[in-house]
């Protein structure tokens, strides 16, 4: 099928089988390797991206669902070559260890902050519950999200 959609603000048009996974389109066709495959079964959250500002799993989303969609990947959060607010907070708070879960984790947090600018800790824990991290106890990640929300509120 012919697929027309937008990735990180840029219109894209490509020929793809309708059952091609968004994960493979991003990684193999568009070289956006920040989208990570941890399980390929929708269990770990590593491949989380934004589809029309909502968090989805790129391993469970196929080309047939993407016509006209706006996709945001981790590469799309960078602003003028610099890390965006959430990315910077993750670095500063020491929330990044091995880093493999981080693109998905940041995008799940982004989806939360798109919905509410003042999340409670329980909101954050719930929003990130589908993103497994094996290195941390999640607390530095949660602090990074809180910090970003606070900075956004202050602006």
């Amino acid at each position: 099928m012919k697929l027309n959609f937008t990735v990180n603000g840029a219109p894209r048009s490509l020929e793809t089988p309708p059952d091609q996974r968004l994960l493979d389109i991003l990684r193999n066709e568009l070289d956006l390797t920040g989208c990570k495959e941890g399980c390929g079964e929708g269990e770990c959250g590593a491949c989380t991206v934004l589809l029309d500002d909502k968090a989805v799993l790129a391993c469970l989303t196929v080309a047939a669902q993407l016509e006209g969609a706006q996709i945001t990947t981790i590469e799309g959060l960078t602003e003028n070559g610099k890390p965006g607010a959430l990315q910077a907070a993750f670095v500063e708070e020491g929330a990044v260890q091995c880093g493999y879960c981080i693109p998905g984790m940041v995008l799940s947090a982004k989806a939360l902050l798109n919905e509410t600018s003042d999340p409670t800790e329980d909101d954050i824990r719930r929003a990130l519950a589908g993103n497994l991290c094996r290195c941390s106890g999640y607390t530095q990640i949660i602090r990074a999200v809180k910090r970003t929300a606070k900075e956004m509120g202050a602006e």
Binding site: T33, E41, T73, P83, F90, Q97, I102, E121, G130, C133
Partner: protein, 744 residues
Amino acid sequence: MDKSIIGANIPRLESREKVDGSGRYTDDFSPAGMLYGAVLRSPYPHARVKKIDAAQVLAMPGVMAVILPQDVAGIRYNSSGNPPSDLLVDDEHILTDHPLYEGDAIAAVAAQTPRLCKEALGRFAVEYEVLPAALSVEAALDPSTPPLHPDIAKSNDFQLLAFDQGDVETGLAACDIVLEGEFATPAVHPLPMEPTSCICEWRGNTINIYATSQTPFQERRILAGMFGLPESAVRIVKPLMGGGFGARQQLHYQPQGCLLSKKTGRPVKMLLTREEEMMATTTRHAAKMRVKLGAMLDGKISAMDIEVWHDTGAYCTHGPIVLSAQGKKVQYGVDHYRYRGHCVYTNNVTAGAMRGYGNPQVTFAREMLIDRLARKLGRDPLELRLQNHLARGDTIPGTQTLVSSVAIQTCVDEAERIRKEVDAKRAQPGEWGVAFCMHTSGPSNKSGMSSASIYLNRDGSVQLNLGTADIGQGSETAMAQVAAEVLGIKLECVNVHAADTASTPYDTGTFASSQMFVGGNAVVLAAKSMIKNLATALADVRGVSAAQVGFAGGVFSLPDGQCSFADAAEQVLYGGDNSRVVFGEGSYKAVEAPPVFAVCLVRTQRDMLTGVLTITDAIQTVDAGNVINKNIVRGQIEGGMAQGLGYGWMEQLETDRRTGKHITSDALLYKIPTAQDIPSLYSAAVDSYDEFGPLGAKSIGELTLVPVAAALAISAERSCGKEIFSLPLSKGLLLTRAAKEVAQ
């Protein structure tokens, strides 16, 4: 020490590329012409392949090569990334026609796409003779069960490790109180978020590999030996790595990848599915333990008798060395100590290295008994443990290892301070469980060795080359801090290049909590050698004697004034006739393995109506020597706590007893803690300094996981009033996190 570099909360240097998606992990590389490889696995835990026909596979367009057991029949090896040891049995095959666990490798295929690989695996025609499987230590030890590897050992109980001190029988007989118990802990999976992967390219007489690898230099040694190549012909590069926790302290599917590449002349990427990850990589050994503890009425613990049976699965890998490490981790000054560790073959998933390396199992059993002793004697559980604790200068029971530093009292004081704060916040009554543990910095057999080289640039910045593999723990940043501190230069002037066997010097490997201690000492030596060599070169260029050149705080002093590190570099590199290139180099062999200590407190509260037990808080304070980077250490403590809570609470690899099939075959069926499961965590690294450590540092990697399951189980036992003998607790109790009561 420069407080802006050492002990600071410095964000990790490599975090930026991880957070913007530009960092490259193994699967992010795709060399030109690359094929995909996949492994055909046994569907049975024990079988014989009577016939295998690959004709239909080879007929598929896009399939480029197949390898079968007969192609690799002569090769036996041990995949463990330990340095060579007589304890490591060579019992593995690259491919086998006698699979010994569900998932054992039978054949391998290379094809143009992952989809074709998957299809190809379904087209092998294999005829199996299904054989009876021994799915527990008890079954494997039953006299009617034949040995799994009759050519290697007549019994499935194939290795016994022993440590003794004093006379345990006499010691126990003389005690006022003897407590004993039979404990069991499950096989659990490290579950790193990045799946195990490698890209192998065999070209001419050389092999290039990108791999998720904790021990590139050991893997190179094993592969070179396997294929009859000089080590210089095998290059292993570890790109960014998504965790390891021990699982990649060994070869996985590099041998198969190399052979597929040799056959096709093209690079081959082997990428495990999550299901393969769960069944066909390695786990923490399931353990059965018989423990006896003898004490006097005044609380003195004088005898400890520990016998352990480890289920090592179908192959030896690390088995005996895990037991050897396990037997040397008692931090109480007992007079009589006996440890016996049995390594047992079964038809279960192969066990290997995992964070803690034998210590979490025995710490669970030992700490449960010590807590029961405290209750029996009416003693405070912290104070009873302190009474028996080793002090500086003591020897660790069953070993010759001296305790070179210990700040256990400070750990307890800090934990108590935090506990009071938490208690003040909690409205409902709860029970605290306490556990202590000790681990070591570097392998406890002192086999750790590491090296570093430093190249000097004109502007005084340096290139630091390390053999150590950063698998996500942050060692590269910590090493850069150590180099910057010793050289007296800014952190941003140190560029790290690591874990590439062709361009970085030898390192034993990332395991045994050795990076900070062993690797850090190598960096200190390399930096000191750089200063010495630069001073000598500066003296030559300036026409003075070397003795006239001093160095302090990043500044060289000469008879006619001072000279900054950068000026010295410029003068030496472009200083006329006597100019030269300056290197620093350091090799460190661990002569000590300083113990590190942790105190862990876990709080649970019980709903009296439903009986549901809720984990509300967990505290851990550690003595890891002088802290190089607070940010990294905090991440290590809290991450260890999360893994420890998972171990104590919910994690267990399960097999259907009748069919021998894996039940926990993915990340949905095998539960690890999520952000909603983890209670409020509190952590601290107390002030401490070890004379053998680099800048006083010890290590932190494994320690922080070890006591957590024990502290949780003790809290649960105190909450429920029922003695607990096995993990995980979710098998017998209902647990939740205090969703509503989280401290903000």
